[in-house]
Symmetry: C2
Subunit: 494 residues, 2 copies
């Protein structure tokens, strides 16, 4: 794999002078076509042996292309505030929109290499990291982000010589990091770790490209050529992970909603008593030091129009400090959101440790309204189930408590509430022509909800399907289940 | 001032039941009109005596109005990561767009009250804080953000009773913070401090409104009425601070650019030597622990088209680590940016401590392109000079090193460069019809630049006007001046 790169091939200066002007022109042209088509973003991950000139490459690409449409995404080790969020959070925040190019420097592969280079790597952990990286890239690619990965490589001798040469000259010595100096001592281990990781994470949709880095001309030209080829690709390769044959089969015959008892209700006095009890416990739970330190809370509210999402959310927040929670109401995505993968706008709202994010409608719009209203091709929304499960899994792995509520009402009850809303001067705003239109598609939404509940009900992030025909019943259940989930999480630390 | 509030007025329940439904309907209607007009954002700052029910008010407004168009902006004390940025940074990040309402809880007034309540307040510091708050609000209002400030107040007795009542009942005890319990002990001091701050920061354009808070009905109704009145206001009041009579007089006769010597140049070998020297010093300076800990670097590049902004920036960044700097190219604002004050999109790019923000064109577009192309009314861009000075002052006060470069070329030199660009296959992208059009307005831009240089050249954030007819001369000067500025800042800690 590294044979070519470790032979340290060189490009003579006049050869380079001949190639580079054409390459630059082609790169610029391809960049502009990419920009105008706006069919995808390009993400270039930059990895490789330390001291192989990765840093210079960023300047190079910014120099050769139009830097106004390139985002350099450069991460150091996660700091205190980064650690408040799942590891992928930083990437999501920095993701370029369609038409643009992102160069990721200090890529997410550093932790994989560190593990693989150990004398006794934790194989289980390493496999998990590899799976996560593959999954992450496949999801990006499937959602319009093209990915290429550059691995800068050179022979042990050349690495060591380059480092010494840079160190000798005071004007370049600062380019050498303490890490670079150590590389030659464990070159073969680093090399083998790199090879192992590259093999495990190479794929047609997010390929690794080895860049021979000993000679500057060669490194520059090969980098430029790799980027050019990526920009020129007519369309993104669909990841095998997302092969339609592997998508979940829709099973419209089994709908969890059909089993639901809509007659449950509780009397007013019991409601008052229960709400008081649970709100007090909730108020205590969200302030518990173990919750604040180790966890966050993510609540998604879905359900038919007029099922009572807003009312439930308002009651929950009575037990919370306004500084601790944020309600995010979700409606149709705006253009800048459509320019990114569909989960992007939700990643932006992922709460830090100790915080609470409440979604009034959520990422499940992908498999509800986008499906029913034909806003998204079938192949894309069907992928949504697994993408969403992976998203929630990342939240939970990082300590988030994730609860999803489906507030269910019957068709008759909805009609009654619509009419009430139309009559009430301060509820009129809640009812629009859209609501009536959606109501006509009751069956389609019902079926979509059924599939969603089947495919995304997981142990880590369960659905709570509640009849909301009696608002009081649903409200008590919501507060109770949220509270219990937090209390259980707190107990788990005992 | 507090007479009414400290008489703890009450609203009987049936009175409240009569008033509230109408008030809610009016609030919703006004909110929707506000939303549709999109002529301004409304910011509601919530302050007052602790234990007066400020927190409940947020739930109230979210309950009475359509919460999808309200942003609750709730700040706790600044944490480690907040402290990386100037104090106003958090507000700017959270600013709602036009049409929306923001409720700021734990408002920026807490530090003012803490200072004023001391036995021996630092009068100088307090005056500075007051001036800053006034300035900040005036700038917001002048740029389309309406501001009202609610002060929740009640008598000492009522505050103490409310706290005890809440504490007695386990179901409300959590609403009482440790701070609330202490209030009655120093009630009169808190009250006087509040009065002092309110008097100092009350103004027609961002008024304080005292809300009697002892009785829940009264508090709710008065809050709702205050918000209703604000939403219904036909237009924003222009702050006196921004009275056209107080704006700087334009002095087109004195133009710093006319004094410039365009013949300066340096030979190639001297250039190579100098660049090497200064880039090495720069590389060291940006990595110096004192720079990283105490400072950040903000560089703004302006100048005629083809003056060499990009080339200068690329050379600077050769001495920097890609993880440390970010280049932000500025073009015409997008719709979501136009929905906020013009400085908003630059506040978003303010660097954390140890980081470097480089702007290829900048906030000076307000008084350059927006002026010359008539994109902004004269009264607004003229305000820009003082707004920009205040912005830069905040950056510098927080440790930022701010340098602004005007790269100047002559009309002939520009023509030469335009023609070269058209001929070069990989520079063609840099030259568009716009550039030729701008060239026709050379004199207008020249005059606008002259005014800008006169009004915004400050000791804290000086302009560096450099002839760039000889690119080598300008490049050496830029690297040298940036380096010296950082080195001086480092020395200042000795």
């Amino acid at each position: 794999m590294f044979d070519d790169a470790e032979s340290d091939p060189k490009l003579l200066s006049d050869e380079a002078d001949r190639i580079i002007p054409t390459l630059r022109t082609q790169l610029l042209k391809a960049q502009y076509q990419h920009l105008n088509k706006q069919d995808r973003a390009l993400l270039i991950l930059v990895g490789g042996i330390d001291g192989a000139g990765k840093g210079d490459t960023i300047n190079l690409l910014n120099d050769w292309m139009d830097p106004r449409h390139i985002r350099t995404i450069a991460f150091g080790p996660a700091n205190r505030s980064d650690k408040q969020y799942p590891p992928a959070y930083r990437f999501w925040q920095a993701l370029p929109p369609k038409g643009q190019t992102g160069i990721v420097f200090g890529s997410g592969y550093a932790p994989l290499i560190s593990e693989a280079v150990k004398k006794r790597p934790d194989t289980r952990k390493l496999e998990d990291m590899v799976l996560m990286a593959r999954r992450f890239e496949a999801d990006l690619v499937a959602n319009g982000v093209q990915v290429i990965k550059l691995w800068f490589h050179l022979s042990r001798k050349a690495q060591s010589e380059r480092t010494s040469r840079l160190l000798e000259n005071p004007s370049t010595a600062w380019k050498v990091s303490p890490l670079d100096k150590k590389v030659h001592k464990r070159f073969s281990r680093l090399r083998d770790a790199g090879q192992r990781i590259i093999e495990a994470t190479d794929s047609a949709h997010s390929p690794w490209i080895i860049i021979p880095a000993a000679d500057e001309n060669m490194r520059n030209v090969r980098t430029g050529q790799a980027v050019l080829q990526a920009l020129r690709r007519q369309s993104i390769r669909v990841p095998a992970l997302h092969d339609p044959a592997e998508l979940p089969k829709l099973r419209p015959s089994i709908n969890p909603l059909t089993k639901l008892d809509y007659t449950v209700s509780i009397p007013k006095d019991e409601y008052d008593e229960q709400m008081l009890l649970w709100l007090n416990r909730l108020a205590e739970a969200v302030r518990h030091p173990k919750f604040v330190k180790h966890h966050s809370l993510v609540l998604a509210f879905e359900g038919q129009d007029a099922a009572g999402k807003g009312g439930n959310i308002r009651r929950l927040t009575r037990a919370m400090d306004a500084r601790q929670y944020k309600i995010t109401p979700i409606s149709a995505p705006r253009q800048f959101e459509l320019n990114r993968p569909h989960l992007w706008r939700f990643w932006r709202e992922v709460p830090a440790k100790g915080k609470i994010a409440i979604f009034d409608r959520s990422w499940y719009g992908r498999v509800l309204v986008e499906r029913v209203e034909n806003l998204t091709p079938k192949v894309s929304w069907r992928r949504g189930y697994t993408e969403i499960n992976a998203f929630e899994q990342q939240l939970v792995n990082h300590g988030a408590i994730v609860l999803k509520f489906w507030l269910a009402i019957t068709e008759d009850e909805q009609l009654k509430r619509f009419k009430e809303r139309e009559k009430s001067p301060f509820k009129q705003f809640k009812i629009t022509a859209d609501d009536w239109r959606n109501r006509e598609k009751w069956k389609e939404y019902y079926r979509a909800a059924g599939d969603m509940l089947s495919f995304t009900h997981t142990d880590l992030a369960p659905w709570h399907v509640l009849s909301s025909n009696d608002k009081r019943y649903a409200r008590v259940q919501v507060v109770k289940r949220v509270t219990q989930a937090i209390e259980n999480a707190i107990k788990s630390h005992d």
